[in-house]
């Protein structure tokens, strides 16, 4: 494999990781808030916080890893995206900052506060919406280079059907992924009342997820036909994704094997995300940056890949340890352990 391809694969895997862990976190924030206003919080909020407390920082690092890696492997993305996205990027940052710190303030610091929970819930939906626009922009048509400077075409973005369909998809899949995960977690915790509630969330949000995905396909066809045609070449990826979706929902519907169901959710997004990603190539930012033109030099590329492999040797065992402590340790999950 060429070094560029390795680079983008590494980054894409991390973005996929972020997609999963962040969706769980974002969606959980929303459900915690929803639970509060519908007075079900005493049932579901304890499992939510038992999962989130030890891992929220790790979630954030996934994101940092992605954008630092992107600039490392493809420095010219810093130039184009950086110049164009000052305002939306800053707004997303402020939201992320509010979310992360308020989570910590509320959870580790003082007891419950309605304001914190509200902010935590609201940002849970706003952040995915704003982050997803970075992918929208990569399709081209929202940035133009004029007289040596890069301009962000805000009006195009806000009036584009494609861009709204992506936002819609981002929000519903966050809720879907998160609810599916909470089913697994509640089941593991043997917390049946909580499971009953989150199972309803999961089933409720699954049809919109598929609907939104079809919308995005249609919209992309109108927006960037070239990419759409590329996607057709990889249609088997999307079909696999759809099959996984059906298995996952069926398992949850039949009320069994929640762990397996969540693995199928992960596979569903894996196939869709990589199908989307591979058909997007060679463009990183259409039509300005491709794998070739945007790549850092060969030496740095190799250094980064070596660093990455060495880093994995550290990370994977640590992540496994973390999961064994908080995901697969039945005693912890059931709340039988003190902090």
């Amino acid at each position: 494999m060429e070094i560029q391809l390795i680079g983008i694969t590494v980054l894409w895997i991390f973005l996929y990781g972020y997609l999963i862990v962040a969706s769980i976190d974002f969606g959980a924030g929303f459900f915690a808030y929803y639970g509060k206003i519908t007075k079900q919080d005493h049932i579901i909020n304890s499992i939510i916080s038992r999962y989130l407390s030890p891992v929220w920082e790790v979630t954030n690092v996934f994101f940092v890893f992605f954008f630092v890696g992107l600039v490392g492997f493809f420095p010219s993305t810093a130039y184009y995206y950086g110049t164009a996205l000052l305002v939306p990027g800053s707004i997303a940052l402020v939201l992320l900052a509010i979310r992360g710190s308020f989570y910590a303030f509320g959870n580790y610091g003082v007891k419950e506060s309605n304001v914190y929970t509200f902010l935590y819930g609201a940002t849970g939906l706003l952040i995915p919406a704003s982050l997803s626009t970075a992918l929208t922009i990569s399709e081209g048509g929202f940035i133009s280079e004029e007289e040596g400077t890069v301009v962000f075409l805000v009006k195009e973005l806000f009036t584009s059907f494609y861009s709204w369909s992506v936002v819609f998809l981002a929000i519903v899949s966050v809720l879907y992924i998160s609810a599916m995960f909470l089913c697994f977690y509640a089941d593991k915790a043997k917390d049946w009342p909580a499971l009953e509630i989150v199972r309803k969330f999961a089933l409720f949000w699954s049809p919109p997820t598929i609907l939104a995905s079809f919308l995005v396909f249609l919209a992309l066809r109108a927006h960037n036909l070239e990419h759409f045609n590329n996607m057709l070449d990889y249609s088997y990826m999307f079909i696999l994704s759809f099959i996984c979706f059906n298995i996952a929902v069926w398992l949850v519907y039949r009320n069994k094997r929640y762990g397996t169901a969540f693995i199928f959710v992960m596979l569903q997004f894996f196939f869709a995300f990589f199908g989307y990603g591979v058909s997007h190539l060679p463009y990183i930012l259409y039509p300005y940056i491709t794998l070739e033109t945007g790549f850092t030099n060969e030496t740095m590329g190799i250094a980064l890949v070596i660093a990455f492999i060495a880093g994995l040797f550290l990370l994977i065992p640590s992540l496994i340890l973390l999961m064994r402590m908080f995901l697969f340790d039945a005693n912890y999950v059931q709340g039988n352990r003190e902090k």
Binding site: S53, L86, F105, T299, S318, E338
Partner: protein, 443 residues
């Protein structure tokens, strides 16, 4: 008054974010070391006071870490948003340590999560302590990596520039540039130092308020001894930083010291003002000390500002920042030495009111020294963003919206700083140490 163009505004916003982040980052690097030390002593001596200390520090630490993480995310992304041209160029050479830094964060974040929720999980208490070790290593490594990036900006090495293109890149040479040894060690040592004094200050404040008991005495002793060690190491490494500057960035040293003419046996100027003729007045002159700081030899020659074109030297106000940083450093050495002296002597009283009040002041002062040090170092590099390679104004974004973004982030930091303080106060007032160790004694 210079015009507020996007380059100036980008600088302001960068300084704002870094100036705020650095407070939490410094604690993030130093406090884990102290927590780990306290827990270790606690297990070793079977002393529950020390273990309680570790627990209570950890609780506060989680809150400050959260602010460190979110502001760090801000600065990380802002580097690309505000300095796109700089990152496009520098990213090609210095991407490696930035990338490694995120691994260090990852490592730290994972083990911090485990550490927080496993206090009573293991039969053997050393297992829990062991988990603090990767947290300490991760945070210190992240400080190391980010310092190498900043060192690279001061001493860019490991590449060649030909017709505006960067060639012959050597990532490791870029990372281990001449500025790295002093920069990284001084940053890490001063972070340990500051964390020790901040925790000592809180303890001293509690003793003043509530009178002393065993728990506070142990906390004060532990933090002051650590503070003494790191104050000395910071001062020694600071001296080496001066020697680095003399060799590689003489114009920065000269601007900081108001050293205008190249001469042998140069005097160190402390304080003072510049009159309209550019003469130094009311300053304390320490004969030959600048030569010692710069070269370790009282008669060595120190290069003066006259040898550099005026547009390539930094603003002269950094002189005060340097003096303040060094002054605070000397004060911290003296203060912790005084404490130890009173502690060791039979007749000494390490808990006298005046000493405790000075210790209370030392925490904020150490943090100020960090801020002064950074502003001195960053402003002192001007007009370069990459020393003698790229000027700051050429690295900046061309966007017109930096001003409003400045206001946005300013608001964010005010809110974060405010609530963080309120949460910390509430946390420790609502659950004082006394009740906690009484509960513990009953068990």
């Amino acid at each position: 008054m210079p015009e507020l163009d996007s380059a100036i505004l980008s600088r302001l916003l960068t300084s704002l974010t870094l100036g705020f982040h650095i407070i939490f980052a410094t604690l993030g690097v130093g406090v884990p070391l102290l927590i780990s030390g306290a827990e270790w002593i606690g297990i070793r001596r079977k002393d529950d006071h020390y273990r309680l200390l570790a627990r209570r520090w950890t609780r506060g630490f989680v809150v400050t870490v959260a602010v460190g993480v979110v502001t760090g995310t801000c600065i990380g992304l802002q580097l690309s948003l505000l300095w796109p041209s700089f990152m496009e160029v520098a990213g090609q050479v210095i991407g490696l340590p930035l990338f490694l830094e995120t691994f260090a964060f990852f490592f730290e974040a994972i083990f911090l999560g485990i550490y927080l929720y496993t206090w009573d999980r293991f039969k053997n208490p050393y297992f829990h302590w062991l988990i603090s070790v990767p947290v300490v290593i991760g945070s210190t490594l992240s400080a190391f990596f980010i310092s190498t990036v900043n060192a690279f900006m001061n001493a860019p090495k490991g590449f060649k520039l030909e017709n505006g293109k960067i060639i012959e890149i050597q990532p490791l040479i870029a990372m281990f540039n001449p500025a790295t040894p002093t920069k990284a060690t001084h940053v890490i040592s001063s972070a340990y130092l500051t964390s020790a004094f901040v925790l000592a200050a809180i303890t001293a404040f509690m003793i003043l308020k509530k009178g002393n008991n065993e728990y506070y005495k142990k906390a004060l002793h532990f933090t002051m001894v650590s503070g003494f060690v790191f104050a000395i190491s910071t001062a020694i490494i600071g001296d080496f930083s001066g020697k680095y500057l003399a060799e590689y960035q003489p114009e920065k040293l000269a601007a900081a010291e108001w050293h205008f003419e190249t001469e042998e046996g140069a005097d160190l100027i402390v304080g003072g003002i510049l009159d309209e003729n550019g003469e130094v007045k009311y300053a304390l002159r320490m004969p030959n000390f600048l030569s010692i700081l710069a070269h370790g030899n009282p008669n060595a020659e120190v290069i003066g500002l006259e040898e550099f074109p005026a547009e390539e030297t930094a603003p002269l106000f950094i002189h005060y920042l340097f003096d303040l940083m060094v002054g605070i450093g000397m004060f911290l050495v003296a203060l912790s030495a005084q404490y130890l002296w009173s502690y060791k002597r039979k007749k000494g009283n390490p808990y006298s009111k005046y000493l405790l009040m000075l210790i209370v002041a030392s925490g904020p002062l150490a943090m100020l020294a960090i801020e002064f040090g950074w502003i001195f170092s960053e402003v002192g590099r001007q007009p370069w963003i990459l020393w003698h390679v790229m000027e700051t104004t050429d690295g900046a974004t061309t966007s017109e919206h930096v001003g409003s973004m400045f206001l946005l982030f300013f608001g964010l930091y005010v809110v974060l700083g405010w609530i963080c303080t309120a949460v910390l106060l509430k946390m420790f007032r609502g659950n004082p140490a006394e009740t906690e160790f009484e509960e513990m004694d009953q068990r």
